[in-house]
């Protein structure tokens, strides 16, 4: 797909620099943005970056806040939580506590990137390189995005979703719709298929099928509940013990949409909308390190290439490098500014080191990465970008050098011990262990409680039982009962959640709450 034949001379080679920068000032104009984009596009083509067509939109700070609060969706249905987001964004911004992101980019075809009008020209160039060529090529190339999202359909689908929700609000009232949305949002992380590939979404198709669903769905659901034999007629203990669903279901929202006995058709449709959006955002949640690392690697590489070609001057590079180093700054664990690993830093370090391993491998690299040490760096980076997600990317490519550079170490906190334990550090015996631990940290099913639909009491009280499988004895959090109320609202009958560790039930939650059974 990507043409890697006409490769640029590597930077640093003795190519004469035509000292004719595109511009020297820091003020941008539309003509200049266009010129920079043209040149960046040429550089990107030299490196074989394959992108969707770009659409760059210049917006004001206020508009950036709008874009922020709708989680980057250019069109969204209305909901109070986006208003809350907007209020806190604008408050932070007005007080100057928070700068706005330089850019927001949307996984769509064409790929939409927002530039803030306040940015200087070097910043605009950085953003174009980062978003319109970095993120864009990631969206187009990475297998998760290719499998789970359909960039050409998302905008239309968002418009469909907004209109549908608005229509429901008109028909059933804002409060009623808000309740359903609240409940769906509470379960949004459990509205994705993690392994199955979903059908791609398309708005026109969706609209047509939605009409069909409206007609058939209710009937089908009634059928499900009607065909279940009455209890006293069924004496077969095996069949009685058979669970429904037979296999646990990971997609709780999907299960509810298809099986909740009492939901109206429009309510099922809204569940579906939230589910589809969750699915659309799911790849982003699994590729944060890679996606930001890739985009950062490319803005860095592309703008250096511009410098090598003499298209930008020293002043430009100075400003660019200042922003770049702020983006990839990693405060150490004991700094007051520390808030976990910076995905930009980790991703950028890994892609940069990957290139080094290809171009200048040493003994350690040959030992750790025999397949890629000394290989074509562009091919290797593209391969990594296309075929991995954060967890597997780290597992596969985190090198000892990056671990040393970032001085990574693992701490274990066991509630059965009265000390924290340092379990691995950036040294020979620790590398593999450390890498495994870090990879696991980016595994979503490790970060979020593993909860699945376990059983519906189809012959009895129609109650829904969810099962939580704890990992390392980590229990459910404080909001669990709160979330169960939302599940209950959607399901319409009693809801139970049991934490089952090694076959033993360690914790139970019920909605409505159980009476104390003692007396």
């Amino acid at each position: 797909m990507t043409n890697l034949m006409d490769r640029p001379t590597p930077p640093g080679s003795d190519q004469p620099r035509a000292r004719e920068p595109i511009s020297t000032g820091s003020e941008w104009t539309f003509e200049l943005i266009q010129k920079y984009d043209d040149e960046i596009a040429k550089c990107a083509a030299e490196f074989g970056l394959d992108t969707y067509p770009n659409q760059v939109e210049v917006i004001s700070a206020e508009q950036m806040m709008d874009a922020y609060s709708s989680v980057g969706m250019p069109v969204g249905y209305h909901h109070w939580s986006f208003g809350k987001q907007f209020l806190s964004t604008s408050k932070g911004y007005q007080r100057g506590q928070m700068g706005l992101a330089y850019e927001i980019v949307i996984n769509s075809n064409p790929c939409i990137a927002y530039l803030m009008e306040e940015n200087t020209l070097p910043m605009q160039a950085l953003v174009i390189a980062h978003a319109s060529y970095g993120h864009n090529s990631f969206f187009k190339g990475n297998y998760l995005f290719r499998t789970w999202t359909d960039a050409s359909a998302i905008i239309d689908y968002l418009v469909f979703a907004r209109n549908y929700v608005a229509e429901c609000e008109e028909r059933y009232g804002v409060d009623t719709v808000e309740e359903i949305l609240d409940s769906c949002h509470a379960l949004m992380n459990y509205g994705v298929d993690r392994y199955k590939r979903p059908a791609p979404i398309s708005a026109s198709e969706e609209l047509r099928r939605q009409k069909e669903r409206e007609e058939y769905q209710q009937r089908r659901i009634n059928d499900l509940w009607r065909t279940i034999p009455k209890m006293d007629e069924d004496d077969d203990p095996v069949r009685r013990r058979k669970r429904y669903p037979e296999e646990p279901q990971e997609n709780i929202l999907y299960f509810i949409e298809k099986n909740a006995p009492l939901l109206e058709t429009w309510q099922r449709e809204i569940i579906r909308i939230v589910r589809k959006l969750a699915q659309y955002f799911y790849p982003q949640r699994q590729t944060q390190v890679m996606n930001e690392g890739w985009a950062t690697f490319w803005h860095y590489t592309l703008l250096h290439r511009m410098y090598d070609k003499g298209l930008v001057n020293d002043g430009f590079m100075l400003e660019f490098l200042q922003s770049h180093s702020a983006v990839v700054y990693q405060p150490p664990f004991n700094s007051p500014w520390y808030s976990g690993l910076n995905p930009y830093t980790l991703g950028f370090s890994m892609f940069t080191d990957l290139r080094r391993i290809c171009e200048n491998p040493n003994e350690e690299d040959r030992q750790w990465f025999p397949d890629i040490a000394g290989s074509d760096w562009l091919e290797t980076l593209h391969f990594a970008m296309k075929n991995f997600k954060d967890e597997s990317f780290i597992q596969q490519f985190l090198s000892p050098k990056v671990m040393r550079d970032l001085k990574l170490f693992a701490i274990q906190n066991d509630d059965q011990e009265d000390v924290y334990r340092v379990t691995a550090i950036h040294d020979e015996p620790g590398y593999r262990d450390l890498r495994e631990k870090l990879a696991r940290q980016y595994n979503l099913s490790y970060r979020e409680p593993n909860i699945q639909v376990w059983n519906v009491d189809v012959r009895g009280d129609r109650s829904l039982t969810l099962r939580h499988i704890p990992v390392d004895r980590v229990p459910m959090g404080k909001e669990t009962e709160e979330v169960l109320r939302h599940v209950h609202r959607l399901w319409g009958f009693d809801v139970h959640l049991e934490s089952v560790d090694d076959g033993a039930t360690v914790q139970e939650y019920h909605c409505p709450p159980r009476e104390l059974e003692e007396d």
Binding site: D37, A41, P53, N54, V56, E57, V58, I59, S60, E62, Q63, D66, S69, H78, W80, F82, G83, K84, F86, L87, S88, K91, P110, V174, D182, H185, A186, N189, P331, P332, F333, Y338, L341, K407, L408, A410, I411, Q412, N413, D414, D415, D418, V419, Y420, V422, A424, H426, R447, E448, P449, D472, V474, M476, G477, K478, E479, T480, E482, V483, H486
Partner: protein
């Protein structure tokens, strides 16, 4: 490359979040109402028209999701190791229940995390305030549009209603047009007439090819045609019409003074005063709509009256009996010395729980009727009590019969009644 499409979106609407913001305010209206009510207590009545910071406990606006709780065994990878080696142990901090927290021990910027604070606009502030007062929409709009306008002449326009037609301008225009359109032709007519004259008086040419008769005929026809043309120029045409144009302009400042009179004797509780305060706020907003400059005078009284600042007016407590006339007399004195009725529009609102020293009520009636009501635009009395009326009320009822145009009285029992009462009091005035 030309693949990239660069768009300037800055002029597109920036209020894409307006609906979501409104949804948020709607969902938390009870919190916001409470904040507004608190703010009303704290603020001066002349300081109602600005926004307010509202804080909502974070737990009330959280969106719950399934997540891990404390406990169990966790491992987290951190950057920036300095001296640790594998196998090191670090004692857990005391008092953390032995649990600690795996992820970034207790957020360092944790302060203020339990409150979600945001700003509502002046408009929203008034809306919530009016909500509390059950103010109908039309009245809200009237009160929020603080500018009053009047129309001033501003030049002429080619369009308008017949009533605004300016005859002189229009005729002047018509004249100019007639000159413009007809002038050249009239000159030509004059020239041709001269030629005709010359031709007629000249001796006949012998050559029939140059026959005068033919030439005269041609000239005469031409003159007739031109004259007909000129005649067809209308005396006045639609395009000549000029209308006087008027523009809306903010009304020039006129001044009003608002007297707030309140009983602060022991029987007036803070609840009474809060209701009175809201009533005064409404009056202030109402006056503000009509006058550019407003002064507010606070007079409180128990057995004697005193001019005070707002703080003292609403929040200091007195005990003892009540002599209402003392306040009325003081008000009269202040008008005489500072607010000449020739320059000031005088309004007064009096709030009381109806308590008065019985012998004093007839005195009140007399002071009102003789010295105050002739000077003021309007005097409104509100009695904040769910109970039966006392002497003062009956005395005031008599006053109302005598001065139906400038005196009104009403009874209020709870905040929801403030606006209806206010409207009854000021209906005629507002119209």
């Amino acid at each position: 490359m030309g693949m990239t499409h660069i768009v300037d979106r800055r002029l597109n609407g920036k209020n894409k979040s307006a609906v979501n913001r409104e949804r948020f305010l709607r969902r938390y209206r009870h919190h916001i109402k409470r904040a507004v009510a608190d703010a009303v207590q704290k603020r001066s009545i002349t300081d109602i028209e600005r926004g307010e910071k509202v804080s909502i406990p974070s737990r009330d606006i959280e969106e719950p999701i399934f997540h891990h709780g404390q406990g169990g065994k966790r491992e987290v990878v951190h950057p920036g190791n300095q001296e640790f080696v594998a196998g090191d142990t670090i004692p857990k901090p005391e008092g953390g229940g032995g649990q600690g927290s795996g992820q970034g021990q207790a957020s360092p910027d944790g302060e203020g995390m339990d409150e979600f604070a945001f700003q509502i606009t002046q408009e929203e502030f008034l809306d919530f305030l009016f909500d509390d007062l059950e103010l109908p929409n039309l009245a809200r709009k009237k009160l929020k549009d603080t500018e009053a306008f009047k129309y001033v002449r501003s030049g002429f326009s080619t369009q308008g209603v017949p009533a605004k037609l300016d005859v002189v301008r229009s005729l002047r225009g018509a004249h100019a047009r007639r000159l413009g359109l007809g002038g050249a032709r009239k000159k030509k007519i004059r020239d041709l007439e001269k030629q005709l004259e010359a031709l007629k008086s000249a001796p006949e040419d012998l050559d029939p090819a140059f026959s005068h008769e033919d030439q005269i005929k041609v000239l005469e026809e031409e003159i007739a045609r031109l004259k007909a043309n000129v005649k067809r120029i209308p005396f006045i045409d639609e395009i000549d019409l000029r209308y006087r144009q008027h523009l809306k302009q903010p009304q020039p400042a006129t001044s009003a003074v608002m007297f707030c009179l309140m009983d602060v004797s022991g029987s007036m509780t803070q609840m009474h005063k809060d209701i009175a305060k809201r009533f005064f706020i409404l009056l202030y907003l109402f006056l503000k709509k009509n006058y550019k400059k407003i002064e507010v005078v606070f007079i409180r009284h128990h057995t004697s009256a005193k001019e005070v600042d707002e703080e003292e007016f609403f929040y200091s407590r007195e005990t003892g009996g009540t002599i209402v006339s003392s306040a009325l007399k003081l008000m009269h004195k202040i008008i005489e010395s500072r607010y000449s009725p020739a320059e000031w529009n005088i309004y007064a609102a009096q709030a009381s729980d109806g308590d008065n020293w019985n012998d004093d009520s007839p005195v009140c009636g007399k002071v009102l009727a003789d010295s105050i009501l002739p000077l003021v635009q309007y005097f409104a009395y509100v009695e904040i009590t769910p109970q039966d009326h006392q002497m003062l009320w009956y005395e005031y009822e008599k006053i109302q019969e005598r001065f139906p145009q400038s005196f009104a009285l009403q009874q209020i029992a709870d905040p929801g009644e403030i606006y209806p009462v206010f409207r009854q009091l000021f209906e005629r005035k507002a119209a």
